[in-house]
């Protein structure tokens, strides 16, 4: 019998243009909770996706209880007792809890007809066994995210999972729900189940985990027992480089106020948001996922209805009902989800660059000036170093980082005074990240005002002049760069109390 329930040895995985994992090894003891930490893009998720068969490793070996296994898809992973609770749950919302619990494994009679009685009985027993109080007949879509997550965990347990991977399980839970989740994790541990726990939240790690492994830039940089380490050591391991080198913040003159927002609200998503924004300033929006940061930007940009508050731009009240209004006021917004609201995948790089600014290219008789489009597209491809074979290449054929640069070009072309960037470096590789950061800094240097939403602490701390922190739809404070620390931001991001501006 091996000492480890799971061993992944020398795993490598590369994507076109990116080496996501370089000879990574990872060992998991039976009945332990093992934290995986690292910045976004460090390789944690990639490693887990290799484990559950969503990705195929380029090289490396996986041993379960000392036996080498080959996992080609999630079904094979679950046969080996491995289950993953994804950050974004995707239940079948219109079916019942029981049906979701046994999706694909529905008990049948005569090999054909669903045995409903048995289905609900099995569901009731599974939920009860884990002490989960959910009616198996309930429609899945009616559950809270926390309860959906419990159903997912119950599903893993009912499949006799001995290894459960949890990817940022607390990102959208309230503190009470987090406590319940931790109770469940402890009871699973007692039953001998091993848990791989991916999280960015230090306090959770120290509360619930036994061991920690840290990743950086696709490599495993350290692994130890929780009691042998502390927050400082962890951050050093995770960042592993000088923050200033990574975030080329250049001091630039911060001048007059361009935007004043007072008591902004949109329905029940957020309310009471007030701030001033100055030329040359980068204002960060920090907070946990779901705190309402993106919604504030969407409201300011006319993608979401404003239900209260005033917005002034250059001293005048701005009435923004749709994005084209926002553009008239000199606003531009790099949206959070590049795929969903950014790129037009089947269009060319050039078309994607000019799409927000077509007005500029209309000449006589309403006809489009294609030559001018080609010139401008070419100019921006060169200027911000977009790596693309030609300007007519479909944007979907570019890497994530280059797609993001195309979107930056799209908004630079509109010559904005105020630029919103929402998670500008999510899911792009380290090199492209630094380039995006220096682009943003350069824009601030040119006197543009910038609001940056980011969930990456180092990014917020490294880039921003002031940091507005939100918690559950409320603004909890604005912190100046000079005194901002990860701990202070976390404190603001997790409390409902409003702090005085400092």
């Amino acid at each position: 019998m091996s000492d480890y329930v799971l061993e992944m040895i020398d795993v490598s995985k590369s994507f076109p243009g990116v080496q996501a994992l370089k000879n990574v090894s990872f060992r998991l003891r039976p009945g332990s909770v093992h934290a995986l930490m690292g910045e976004n893009g460090a390789g944690k998720s990639t490693l887990m996706k290799c484990l559950i068969g969503l990705y195929q490793m380029n090289s490396g070996k996986i041993f379960i209880n000392g036996q080498e296994v080959h996992i080609n898809n999630p079904l094979e992973a679950s046969r080996h007792g491995i289950s993953m609770i994804h950050q974004e749950l995707s239940p079948v919302k219109d079916r019942s809890v029981a049906e979701n619990l046994f999706l694909g494994r529905t008990p049948v009679r005569a090999g054909l007809f669903v045995d409903h009685k048995k289905l609900y009985q099995m569901a009731r027993e599974t939920l009860k066994g884990l002490g989960i109080d959910i009616n198996p007949y309930e429609r899945m879509g009616n559950l809270t995210v926390a309860k959906m997550q419990m159903v997912e965990i119950a599903k893993a347990v009912s499949q006799d999972a001995s290894i459960i991977v949890m990817d940022e399980p607390t990102s959208s839970l309230t503190s009470v729900e987090v406590k319940q989740l931790f109770g469940m994790i402890r009871s699973l541990r007692e039953k001998g189940v091993s848990i791989i726990y991916i999280s960015h939240k230090m306090e959770e790690i120290f509360k619930i985990c036994d061991e920690i492994t840290v990743f950086r830039d696709g490599q495993m940089v350290g692994t130890d027992l929780v009691e042998n380490t502390d927050v400082t050591k962890l951050i050093q391991l995770m960042v592993g480089r000088d923050l200033n080198a990574m975030f080329p913040k250049v001091a630039c003159p911060i001048t007059d106020v361009v935007m004043e927002v007072e008591n902004l609200a949109s329905g029940d998503r957020f309310s009471g948001v007030s701030f001033e924004l100055r030329r040359g300033e980068i204002l960060g929006f920090a907070g946990l996922v779901g705190a309402g940061r993106t919604e504030v930007l969407e409201t300011l940009f006319g993608l979401r209805t404003k239900t209260a508050g005033t917005v002034k731009i250059n001293g005048k009240i701005a009435d923004i009902k749709r994005p084209s209004d926002a553009q008239r006021y000199g606003l531009a917004m790099l949206t959070e989800d590049r795929r969903a609201t950014g790129i037009i995948p089947v269009s060319s790089v050039a078309s994607n660059i000019v799409v927000a600014n077509l007005k500029k290219y209309v000449r006589k008789y309403g006809l489009i000036n294609h030559k001018k489009i080609a010139n401008d597209a070419g100019e921006y491809i060169k200027k911000i170093e977009i790596k693309t074979p030609t300007k007519d290449t479909l944007i979907q054929d570019l890497s994530g980082g280059n797609q993001q640069k195309v979107l930056v070009a799209r908004w630079l072309l509109t010559k904005p005074e105020i630029l919103f960037v929402d998670e500008p470096t999510r899911g792009i590789d380290v090199g492209a990240k630094a380039e995006i950061h220096s682009l943003i800094t350069r824009m601030a240097g040119e006197g543009k005002a910038i609001i940056m939403v980011s969930s990456e602490m180092p990014e917020i701390l490294g880039m921003c002049d002031r940091i507005l922190v939100m918690h559950e739809g409320r603004q909890t404070g604005i912190i100046d760069r000079t005194i901002a620390t990860q701990e202070l931001i976390m404190e603001y991001a997790t409390t409902t109390v409003e702090h005085q501006a400092i």
Binding site: F301, L303, R322, P323, S324, A326, Q327, M333, T335, A340, T341, G342, I343, I344, P345, V346, S347, S351, V354, V355, A356, L358, K359, Y361, V362, G366, L367, I368, H370, Q396, D397, R410
Partner: protein, 337 residues
């Protein structure tokens, strides 16, 4: 080394085939029909093909825009019928005993161009309704236009009591029966003219660029400041405008307004656009491809007829070719995950 060069060439050949699949199919079809039946391979027959396909071709030009926007327009066949019976009712010979609009007898003669304009306007108004419904209520275009397809057909039948509208004045029928240079029928001229208009709209105007963006990713288009609603409305106005023109031209050519005109034509139009590479996933398509699609279907229709293939077998062959053409096309523009 050698094998990689070979596989590269293989790959390039494959790319070439899938890129030009439709044109290769078209050339193959023309060659086969020309060999089997020499009468197929004449200039006169080519004009016949164009004449026969012009009305469906106009529908294809219209529906191509809808498909690019990631929608569909099922109402086009019925819109043809509406514009047919309304335009015809205004230009019946007053000596005819059962006028659709009896009151016409007491009025001065309505000019032919007014009939054309009224027919086109009534037809196009269905596009406006479709567009507004789709843009603002967010119901699926399939459902919206399924409804208007039924309503438009019902309106045409109600208006005429399902009787034909015959005995049309010559100044009106001349519009459809005349020809350019004595050999190119007017309906073909209208179709060719509209292909030029469609090309300009799609490739050389802001509307066309916006349309590709809306079809490619509607949320991104919205965030980029594009007026999505206006773009969608214009799209459906355009498609019903094409169908109305087809309805009026066919009516003038056949000298009779018919409430059952264009039944099922919308599907032929959709088939032609789809064969021509206009992708159902939205954001992809060209007018030149569309014309290729129309020609493929036209050549099949005409070639099978001229070589004496059973009309029932014709349907089977046509259906198979549509699917095969699209399978090839899917490989070309498959969305990457």
């Amino acid at each position: 080394m050698e094998s990689t060069a070979l596989s590269k060439r293989n790959f390039e050949a494959k790319q070439f085939i899938s890129k030009y699949a439709m044109y290769l199919i078209l050339i193959a079809l023309i060659a086969i029909f020309g060999l089997v039946e020499p009468a197929f391979f004449t200039g006169r027959n080519f004009v016949n093909i164009l004449t026969a396909e012009s009305s469906r071709g106009l529908l294809a030009l219209g529906v191509a825009f809808c498909i690019i926007s990631r929608g569909i327009d099922l109402s086009l066949g019925s819109v043809m019928a509406v514009s047919s019976v309304f335009s015809a009712s205004l230009v019946q010979k007053l000596s005819y005993s059962t006028l659709i609009i009896p009151g016409l007898v007491n009025l001065p003669e309505i000019p032919a161009w007014v009939a054309v304009v009224v027919g086109v306007l009534v037809g196009t108004s269905f596009g406006l309704i479709n567009g507004v419904l789709i843009a603002y209520t967010k119901i699926h275009p399939f459902i919206a236009t399924l409804g208007s397809m039924t309503v438009a057909r019902g309106l045409a039948l109600l208006f005429t009591n399902a009787y034909p509208v015959p005995m049309l004045r010559e100044d009106f029928t001349r519009i459809g029966q005349g020809s350019l240079f004595g050999f190119l029928p007017n309906i073909v001229c209208v179709f060719l003219l509209m292909t030029i208009v469609a090309t300009i709209l799609l490739n050389h105007t802001r509307f066309g660029k916006n349309l590709f963006a809306v079809g490619g990713n509607v949320e991104a288009a919205r965030a980029a400041g594009i007026n999505v609603e206006r773009t969608l409305i214009l799209t459906y106005v355009w498609s019903s405008f094409c169908a109305s023109l087809a309805g009026v031209m066919v009516t003038a050519r056949s000298a009779s307004g018919i409430a059952s005109l264009g039944d099922g034509y919308e599907l032929d139009g959709i088939a032609a656009a789809t064969v021509g590479g206009v992708s159902q996933t939205g954001g992809v398509g060209s007018i030149i491809g569309c014309i290729g699609g129309i020609l493929v279907l036209g050549v099949i229709n005409n070639g099978l007829l001229i070589t004496g293939v059973s009309p029932y077998l014709q349907k089977i062959i046509k259906g198979a070719i549509i699917v095969i053409a699209v399978v090839f096309d899917m490989r070309k523009v498959a969305r990457k995950k």
